[in-house]
Symmetry: C2
Subunit: 312 residues, 2 copies
């Protein structure tokens, strides 16, 4: 039995899985950010213990604990290095579980855990090499080779959003210019929609924004569905930006699957079909050798499953 | 004892190594491109047998044979799929060695073998993850993780030269635009030098070209050494192009080492020092976590050593 924890800003979500990463049960408590760090840490252990009780096993039956955290990590020391949002810099997680558990404890960042979760419980099941691409505020990444996270030499591999696709292009928060995420993240899509709305008062994007009550990346799809010319042009541009980075990952890594996650992927084939078309057209690869491009499917459980399967 | 073969357009170079990839002896015969394919294949086996005789071992003492070929491969079938330059499409190499050897036979392309050779006999010794970047007509790549080539799902990972760093940029032979190799290969450097010579008749690049008897990438360094302003500007631009791709590889993979190969790397620190400076400045990584950026050192033996260590 493996125990995985997805430590988020809102909830401490905990799950038990079998050796293959099948989720058996889950449980959660609020994180309560803002409280003393010792209180939160004690609650993390308590939530794990409560889950064992709920499932009717003793804590000694847990063979490994994995925790996914929103920050940078030092895997060898099982430490969250920077976790500023939670007020948890330099926390060693092994000690957190010692009051109740005696098994090994593993850590990784939440993006890597989500990728590993897709590998064991989502669109990556059964594949030997996958790259997870999460479209959000930025573009997060996770590389999973042979069922394990590839972390590189400093536990920070997978910063795919900061791959430069346009030298001297859009400025990025990281200080560089032309990073992929400044063109193809969900935030970039929203920025593009806002700019198009300013430039095209006639566009249906305005009507959609009114109906939705906000300007989101999804508005692009809704206006395009109604045949709005501005949205169609914008959509093609966005998918092209997305395809450049996906194509680069494939040129470099040729993974068996590229799995796209993030809210925008709820649009399914509306996004994926044109993305595949562009990527495949540029790769000129024999059909059998083409990496599959799929939507993430593990949803909210990905983080728990991936954490449970850390270092397996 | 392992046997490695570097099959090139000029020579069939063969070597014996120990289990750790230390080269014990080498031997070669001309490839004789243009001859019947059976003749060349028979010569490959003969060259391997001659090496064993030279070293005083029986062919039965060879535990594995690896061959690096200038073309695309199917590793599972030990096959060179396309080897047009040698007139050797669809050759199964296992059969080639059966007359004299009974050990397993492995295959990979020459770029991957060179990368693996650096890992076991060059600048990559002792490191857990490395990316080899070879600056030539294009930019070749090889990914070595945990002492093994990472091939991806279609045996074609490592096409790093075709990572796009400038959307809608320079046209590339592959059909795309803005590929890294159109900016940072040795050929790209030569193209830049030629263009600068046309635009700047006052540049010392002309004098250097006369002295060298040709326009090569190295002319850029020679004119820069003499303080030529055009060459200095061009050099900075070239190193910047190089740094974008190296930076992207680091963002994605965070390998322990990035190893740069190709004739231009004979310039050593003149190229590497400014490259490191640019890459590190953009990465904003703690010093201890920075991947090392080094020149390849295994030279002509890299291909043999890497071939010998295939699938080890």
């Amino acid at each position: 039995m493996r125990l995985g924890i997805d430590l988020g800003g809102t909830n401490i979500a905990v799950g038990l899985t079998d050796e293959k990463g099948t989720l058996l049960c889950r449980h959660s408590n609020p994180t309560g950010v803002g409280r003393a760090r010792e209180e939160i840490l004690s609650d993390i252990c308590r939530t794990a213990v409560e889950l064992c009780e709920k499932y009717g096993i003793s804590t000694q039956e847990v063979e490994s604990i994995g925790i996914g955290v929103p920050g940078s990590v030092n895997k060898a020391e099982c430490k969250m290095v920077f976790g500023t949002n939670l007020g948890m810099n330099q926390v060693r997680f092994e000690e957190v579980f010692r009051p109740a558990f005696s098994c090994p404890v593993y850590i990784d960042n939440d993006a890597n855990c989500a990728a590993l979760g897709e590998c064991y419980g989502g669109a990556g099941i059964g594949c030997d090499s996958m790259v997870m691409v999460t479209l959000g505020t930025g573009i997060g990444g996770g590389l999973v080779f042979h069922g394990r996270i590839f972390s590189g030499c400093g536990d920070v591999a997978g910063e795919i959003g900061h791959m430069v696709i346009q030298m001297d292009g859009e400025p990025c928060n990281c200080g560089k210019r032309g990073c992929w995420e400044t063109y193809a993240s969900a935030s970039a899509a929203i920025r593009m929609v806002k700019q198009a709305m300013e430039e095209h008062p006639e566009s249906l994007l305005h009507e959609v924004a009114k109906e939705q009550g906000k300007v989101g990346a999804i508005n692009l799809f809704l206006a395009r569905d109604r045949g709005d010319a501005v949205a169609c042009e914008l959509f093609d541009r966005y998918v092209r930006y997305l395809s450049i980075g996906v194509g680069n990952l494939i040129s470099i890594l040729q993974p068996e699957r590229v799995i796209i996650g993030g809210g925008i992927v709820g649009q399914g084939e509306k996004l994926l079909a044109p993305l595949r078309e562009l990527v495949y057209a540029e790769l000129m690869m024999a059909e059998g050798k083409r990496p599959e491009i799929l939507a993430a499917t593990a949803g909210n459980d990905a983080g728990i499953i991936g954490a449970a399967m850390l270092d397996s």
